[in-house]
């Protein structure tokens, strides 16, 4: 089981801030493929990965990062703080 979090317009497109998934995905990219296959709203959110950033266990990482042992994955657009 893994917590998947969505922020900003990713959250809006998918329609929820967080969900708990039972997944065997080996990498973030595999998880994205699983999600895109589920429903149109996921397909819409993940259509352009270059417009997305990902964090695994609250550390920024890349889409080829492994998920073994991860408790939390978050998807969001590039940050605009400051």
């Amino acid at each position: 089981m893994i917590d998947v979090l969505y922020f900003a317009w990713v959250r809006e497109r998918i329609g929820l801030p967080k969900e708990r998934l039972d997944t065997g995905a080996a990498t973030v990219a595999d998880l994205v493929s699983e999600l895109r296959a589920r429903e149109e709203r996921y397909e819409a959110a993940f259509a352009d990965l270059s417009a997305l950033r990902v964090a695994v266990d609250q550390q920024l990482t890349t889409f080829d990062a492994p998920l073994a042992g991860a408790r939390e994955v978050a998807f969001f657009p590039p940050m605009t703080g400051g």
């Binding site: 964090a55 978050a74 590039p78 940050m79 605009t80 703080g81 400051g82």
Partner: protein
């Protein structure tokens, strides 16, 4: 080193006074204050963040600044939630023996906060709301800190 991520409004002047108080070992304090700028028609700015990761990301950026420059202290405050035009969004303060370190560390903290701390801004105007797009210039600004 202190990090505060909070919904409440803060007073940059009061923060600078508290940060400066009682120091005789430093010669330079630099502050940056980000303000909600209204280029016309802005009703409010909404800031979303990633609780937990935000504090970790900022602490990591602060630790990197301390490793790079001779800093005696630093402070990062960043608000989230709804902010009115003119309101302070965030503040960075650095204290160092010499001004070069204080300036460089403050600019470094700002550049990294902009692109590496998980905050997202949404502008609400009379005609709707839109997420602020990340600027390429902000990502490019990180380049100057690469060794």
């Amino acid at each position: 080193m202190a990090v505060r991520v909070e919904a409440a409004a803060f007073d940059p002047g009061a923060e600078l006074s508290a940060f400066a108080r009682g120091r005789t070992d430093i010669g330079a304090i630099v502050t940056f204050t980000g303000i909600v700028r209204d280029d016309g028609g802005l009703r409010r700015l909404e800031i979303e963040h990633y609780p937990g990761m935000t504090e970790r990301a900022i602490a990591a950026i602060e630790a990197e600044a301390v490793a790079r420059w001779n800093l005696h202290d630093s402070l990062v405050i960043h608000r989230f939630g709804a902010l009115a035009p003119g309101a302070p969004i965030m503040m960075v303060a650095t204290a160092a023996p010499h001004r070069g370190d204080a300036f460089a560390a403050a600019e470094f903290l700002m550049d990294y906060l902009k692109s590496r701390a998980p905050f997202w801004k949404r502008e609400v105007t009379g005609s709707g709301a839109a997420w602020v797009a990340a600027k390429e210039a902000d990502e490019d600004a990180l380049g100057r800190w690469q060794d």
